[in-house]
Symmetry: C2
């Protein structure tokens, strides 16, 4: 018997029929003897409907009242799921974030969980009930309703699993697990049986948007085994866990991630003096533009080139700021490109193995793909290339690292 926290997103509870299916799935797990806490999101479309109403009344609606409004979405779902369970003779009880109590700070629309009082949930579990909890929401010290921001239901589930010391937190999504890369791009992409928290963070932040980053961070910090699996099909999904527990499958490289939403900006001929980086990036940060990769090369003639990437939506604004800054710095030229893509090879195995970088560059070179930027961290190597090479580059890397193969020692799904 295990204590499991299950989380179902908006699509998985998008209609009465889908909610029935969730109830059936929960009942099956219960018959296997598990204790269950189920975290649910608002029914798909509901949050947008509520935002539409808010917009009609106040296009700049206040954080506090927006949270009062949006939190009703999950409250509807918890009541409906509890009813569906009770219709099947399963004793169930629903709780809003405030009722649990899930205590957060007061940052409306993007609150962070501070503590969870698990007494009520524990009491119900001990009484044999299934507990249904509203995701995405909490309550601050003043008793005001808060929300964790979009996708925050994953965080609710992981935080509850940590507080309850659950055996596993299962996130049901519309994909059946985490893949070595995007299967739409590489048909031979393989679902991973397990992956480490660190790898998952790199995969998620690089564009494989299966889970909320904060939820993965939280799970890693509190060591909550996290499983991603499909709401609609049977299957074991992918377990996200610690390095030791994931080891059985550890290949050198876990997967190939990519991000098509970035744009590149370059300041050429910058006088090579101390403080230059700050004078270029300071105004960018002041404008609340997030910078991802930064590369500066040793230059000749006391001048250097400075390149970085931002989200494509921020490109025009960043370019304008940069042109002013470049003039003040006496730089030669500002250029940029929105037709780029960032591709990353991710894996904890590369910590202890040399040669991953050279293998990566070799594979790209064999396809005569020009590399514009390179950036490395402990468990990933990222390159920026022309957007048109995206498919070619990802396939070449997937092949080079033999990701379509099941690693030695790995069993079939079971």
């Amino acid at each position: 018997m295990a204590l499991l926290v299950l989380k179902f997103g908006g699509t998985s509870v998008g209609s009465p029929e889908r909610i029935q299916a969730v109830a059936e799935r929960a009942l099956k797990l219960r018959e296997e003897g598990h204790q269950l806490v189920i975290v649910v999101s608002a029914m798909s479309g509901e949050t947008d409907r509520l935002l539409g109403l808010a917009h009609a009344l106040n296009p700049r609606a206040d954080g506090r009242e927006l949270d009062v409004l949006l939190s009703t979405g999950e409250q509807v779902t918890i009541a409906l799921l509890a009813m569906a369970l009770e219709a099947r003779g399963c004793d169930a009880r629903s709780y809003t974030g405030a009722q649990v109590t899930i205590r957060t700070d007061s940052a409306h629309n993007k609150a962070r969980i501070r503590s969870i009082d698990d007494a009520r949930v524990r009491g119900d579990l001990e009484a044999g009930r299934v507990v249904v909890v509203a995701g995405f929401q909490g309550v601050d010290e003043e008793g005001a309703i808060t929300t964790l921001g979009r996708g925050g239901s994953d965080t609710t589930a992981v935080a509850l699993a940590a507080a309850l010391k659950a055996d596993e937190c299962r996130i049901y999504t519309d994909v059946d697990g985490v893949y070595t890369t995007d299967p739409r791009l590489v048909p031979t992409a393989r679902r991973l049986h397990s992956i480490t928290f660190e790898e998952m963070l790199e995969m998620a932040s690089l564009g494989s948007k299966v889970l909320q980053i904060r939820a993965v961070e939280f799970a890693g910090k509190y060591n909550v085994p996290l499983r991603v699996l499909s709401s609609f099909e049977e299957g074991p999904g992918t377990l996200i866990t610690t390095e030791e527990d994931a080891q059985v499958e550890q290949a050198l490289v876990a997967g190939i991630a990519f991000n098509q939403n970035e744009a590149q900006l370059t300041v050429q001929g910058v006088p090579d003096q101390p403080g230059v980086a700050h004078r270029i990036l300071g105004p960018i940060a002041d404008a609340n533009i997030e910078v991802d990769m930064i590369v500066q090369n040793v230059g000749a003639d006391n001048s250097t080139d400075f390149t970085f990437t931002v989200h494509r939506n921020d490109y025009d604004k960043a370019l304008e700021i940069l042109q002013a800054a470049a003039k003040a710095l006496g730089a030669r030229e500002v250029s940029g490109d929105t037709h780029i893509v960032k591709i990353s090879v991710v894996g904890v195995g590369m910590r202890s193995h040399a040669g991953i970088a050279s293998k990566m560059f070799e594979a790209l070179s064999r396809e005569t793909i020009n590399i514009r930027m390179i950036s490395t961290s402990e468990i990933k190597i990222s390159v920026v290339v022309d957007e048109k090479y995206l498919e070619l580059a990802v396939r070449a890397l997937h092949d080079a690292f033999e990701l379509e193969q099941t690693p030695v020692g790995q069993q079939e799904d079971g």
Copy 2:
């Protein structure tokens, strides 16, 4: 400067445009210097939508979960109204029943308010804010969400007004006040400037469904001046108050009420013995059928006739029960009629004035309307007549008591 509690029902907040209109109206009162607490219902249609979802998942949904679900309706409205006020530069704050705190018993779907903690609301009023409160809901000792049952928002408003010792509780509805009788039936019916709590209770329970009975009882008990007025038009409405405050207008009769939803049942030739009434009505009460008027006449030959009225929906069930009871009692015959109507003359003035009853019977007799049953209380006289005489009887009584005239000493609306 007065402290006012305003209450707007589902139709009055049924669309973003209507909510805007409520905000405008509140702003006007605020500009006049009043402190405002606004109680709102769910947007019209929302409760039925939620009940539809519940029914799809569990046709016999549990009280607790139904309350979690239904309470979201008002929660949406409070947030939207607070946003609309803030969009107009008016500092506002919304509270659910649980947040206020409005403490109730645990009778889900029909809870009763036990106490109100007014500290938060008072704090906001002192800080110059408009406070928006969800009607119809509260929270029990365990922290579970409860609802007061349909129409309970009126009760929330009155209870808040009592707790805050508000100067007036204003109930905005789709009628512009309480009339001497139904204006659809009698075009000369006149809006009352004021009416006593007792009269309003008799008018309401007899079919003039302007206000929830419990709300009027509550207002009477705690002496909260209650005003019924239109959501859509300007005007002073009708003030419901104590006998002293309403006196300026007091005619002998306040109005003519009627109820078309009753059916009559008669047991004829019942042996005239002690315990007979109990043996007839006991089984009716056991079947949870409410009985309204009861009349028993002195009979000849040691037998009597026993007549009472029930809601039309309960007629078939009551008839069946009665036939069994009559057989056991040795009664001669059971008969009944659903084509009846109860008409009542209501007024605190009749306490001290004889002749109201004879004037009533005279008016009906002049129109050759046969009276089937008569029942009297301190401030009302009710008769049951054939349904076909409804319009004729009400108009005759309205004329006989000169209700179309403004009473002496009463000023025009101002």
